[in-house]
């Protein structure tokens, strides 16, 4: 089987859920299934500017052939004005407006698409739905196309241009049932061959240090939130909730925010902001936490929730985030909060109740073992791609 992945950014330097997912699937297809995989990507690392940073040309990364192309255009400054206008009523945007939105958003990559059309790959996997390569590629290249949407409930999803992106896909690979439900609510693609796959988790690999030592808090108990520290990701809200909780429940409990920082968190004696930790330290911190909290309402999958369950840790998630809530409902491994009141009541209960934490952690771990260990997951994905190849290309795509 020969598979082409199409993603605007690719490589270990790229911080991004969708891009990391694409790389993991590509590398596991090679390593676990013996597939031949090539990637068509740009030279960009930054998803805001799409500036060409890496060298164009061919290279190999962990068994995957990577073809990089300089972009014809990155993000145009006019994008922000148009985006501000269209996001108010995205369904009302005209096709021309939304097509222009995609072009201004970038990266415009016609050379990449021309090269993909020349490839002898049997199937192309496009990741994610939002950018030019997927919009202009799906349905317009000779091989069948699988769309990995990585969709959130965001204004762009409602733009008319993306109806073609979805309906031209020969098959769709979702992260969660919630993502499928969201996409099907907006675009008429329920009949498309599809799979709810998600992502695999790697084995925990700590450095063997105490989590409290990594955080510099000694033996104090703590809860942890792993991921980008960003107001959009709920980190500011979590810090405020936690500060209020500590005012009302004084004690040694700390909050550790672990991940790249792009929002200012007010200084607080019980909140530790670590920045980026190496993988070993991160696992040490997660392992010794009392509870893992995912405050983001805008996740399409959330590996960090699954990683917490790898360590049999109970989790708390944002009730407005359908994918993480779905993980908790299906697994019975976590609880969700929709207000400060609920946050406080759940956290208080979890911290006081060892049995409850144990039950949630065990059920979360069982859920991960059943659905998200790489050998299981990559076999399902390879079978799915095989079926897509057997069915072949659908109708010619239209924009």
């Amino acid at each position: 089987m020969k598979v082409a992945f199409v993603t605007p950014r690719y490589g270990p330097e790229v911080m991004g859920g969708a891009e990391t997912a694409a790389r993991q699937l590509a590398e596991h297809l090679v390593a676990d299934c013996g597939a031949e995989v090539e990637v068509f990507s740009t030279c960009a690392l930054d998803h805001v500017t799409w500036e060409d940073v890496l060298e164009p040309g061919d290279s190999e990364l962990n068994g995957v052939t990577v073809h990089r192309f300089a972009s014809d255009a990155g993000r145009n400054p006019d994008f922000y004005g148009l985006d501000g206008k269209l996001r108010l009523a995205p369904r009302e945007a005209t096709r021309r407006e939304s097509q222009r939105w995609v072009e201004l958003n970038g990266p415009v990559t016609n050379r990449l698409l021309a090269a993909l059309s020349e490839s002898d790959a049997q199937v192309a996997a496009f990741y994610p739905y939002l950018y030019y390569p997927s919009v202009k590629g799906i349905g317009h290249v000779p091989m069948p196309g699988v769309l990995h949407p990585a969709a959130h409930d965001e204004p762009a999803l409602y733009l008319p241009i993306f109806r073609g992106t979805y309906t031209n896909a020969d098959a769709i690979c979702y992260h969660t049932i919630a993502e499928r439900r969201l996409v099907q609510r907006i675009h008429p693609v329920a009949d498309r061959p599809q799979i709810v796959l998600g992502l695999g988790v790697s084995d925990p690999a700590g450095n063997g240090r105490r989590g409290g030592a990594v955080l510099g808090i000694g033996e104090r108990p703590y809860v942890v939130s792993v991921g980008r520290v960003d107001s959009h990701k709920g980190s500011v809200m979590l810090a405020s909730f936690f500060a209020t909780y500590k005012e009302r429940h004084p004690g040694p409990l700390c909050l550790a925010l672990v991940g790249p920082v792009s929002a200012e968190i007010p200084e607080h004696p019980d909140i530790v902001v670590t920045g980026i930790l190496d993988e070993g330290d991160k696992w040490d911190v997660v392992r010794d936490a009392k509870v893992s909290i995912s405050p983001s309402a805008l996740e399409s999958f959330s590996l960090v929730v699954l990683e917490a369950w790898q360590e049999s840790l109970p989790v708390m998630v944002n009730a407005a985030c359908d994918p993480t809530r779905e993980h908790c409902e299906r697994s019975g491994g976590g609880m969700w909060f929709g207000s400060y009141r609920e946050f406080e009541a759940i956290l208080e209960r979890l911290l006081d109740d060892d049995d409850l934490r144990h039950v949630l952690g065990r059920r979360g771990r069982a859920y991960v073992d059943r659905h998200y260990q790489w050998p299981v997951l990559i076999r399902r994905y390879a079978e799915f791609l095989g079926q897509v190849i057997d069915r072949g290309r659908g109708t010619t795509g239209v924009l």
């Binding site: 409930d153 309906t167 061959p193 929709g338 207000s339 009141r341 609920e342 209960r349 399902r380």
Partner: protein
């Protein structure tokens, strides 16, 4: 708060977790009613929560939305005077004192307006809640999957005919109430691009690991998310038997729209005799509707432009209807 229970099995754990959740909900309600957290603090925290919630998540419940309205009703005219610049606080405090009579007059009126709006919304909420209670009391039970071992499985008499009818389909074929995917697998083995939906998640779980394309979805919700003329075949088995007349006609409208020109509809249903017999499944007693007579299906599908073929089962307990959608119907859409 502490629990010492160590549940033993999954069902014990499910019950345990449900009890914990209901205890937490009760505690949240009690604390909210007690007002021990200042309303302004709660409002600010809830606003932070909602700031980056997705559109759908913001809808929440009407009660929650009203809580936010109530918390925001009072407009505070005493503005903060803190300042990073030396003397800034003194200047701000002076300005505040000078303008308080004016700002206070305005905010008082705005607060009064907000209170009136909040009161009106509460009345509306009470009326909607009351209406909902009345509707709940009169609600027709949702149609259930009507599945009998003898009628809905690989050995049932109609399966060969159904598979033969659809074997030549070139596009997608949908099986509703697909169960564990037994018919989808059979059709796939014949080279048909088949998939299934079933509203019972526990029935389709196994298929996740054997590559069968099954989804945990209700048939009507599913068809609403399908493009016009996207399907070459639809098999309705275990679905239409217990539907009410309205549900059945709404489904039929969707089926006609979603089938491609020349597309095939296969309907399997218990007959009236089968519905009344001891061999009928329990669901037969719980549904809001009952099966149509064979002749009625022929009539309904004929009216919709199908070329209809009907066949009663060997015992008279069920029947099969096959309809092929005429090109003229789809051309007129």
């Amino acid at each position: 708060m502490s629990a010492t229970l160590e549940p033993a099995s999954d069902s014990d754990e499910d019950a345990y977790l449900a009890r914990v959740l209901s205890e937490i909900e009760a505690e949240v309600r009690a604390k909210r009613a007690s007002g021990e957290l200042p309303a302004r603090v709660e409002r600010e925290l809830d606003e932070l929560f909602l700031e980056f919630s997705p559109v759908a998540g913001r809808a929440g419940g009407l009660h929650d939305a009203l809580r936010m309205v109530d918390a925001a009703t009072f407009i505070d005219p005493v503005v903060p005077v803190g300042s990073a610049k030396s003397g800034g606080a003194v200047v701000k405090k002076g300005l505040r004192s000078l303008s308080l009579w004016y700002v206070g007059y305005i905010t008082h009126q705005v607060s009064q307006l907000a209170t009136a709006v909040s009161r009106a919304l509460h009345i509306l909420d009470e009326q909607v809640t009351d209406l909902r209670r009345q509707l709940d009391a009169q609600r027709v039970p949702p149609s259930l999957v009507v599945e009998a071992d003898w009628a809905n499985g690989p050995d049932a008499w109609w399966v060969e005919e159904g598979v033969r009818t659809l074997a030549a389909a070139r596009g997608r074929v949908l099986h509703t109430a697909a169960g564990d995917g037994w018919l989808v697998r059979r059709l796939t083995a014949e080279g048909v691009s088949a998939y299934g939906v079933d509203p019972r998640p526990e029935r389709i779980e196994r298929a996740e690991f054997d590559g069968t394309d099954l989804r945990d979805e209700d048939v009507v919700a599913h068809l609403r998310a399908v493009e016009s003329a996207a399907l070459d075949g639809i098999i309705l088995s275990g679905v239409v038997d217990g539907m009410t007349a309205g549900e059945r006609l709404a489904l039929l409208d969707l089926v006609v729209d979603r089938l491609s020109p020349g597309g095939t509809l296969v309907v399997h249903s218990l007959s009236r005799a089968g519905w009344e017999s001891d061999q009928a499944p329990v669901a037969a007693d719980l549904c809001g509707g009952h099966p149509l007579r064979l002749a009625t299906w022929s009539f309904l599908l004929g009216e919709q432009g199908f070329d209809v073929r009907a066949q009663p089962g060997p015992e008279g307990l069920d029947y099969l209807v096959v309809g092929v959608l005429g090109d003229t119907v789809t051309a007129s859409r």
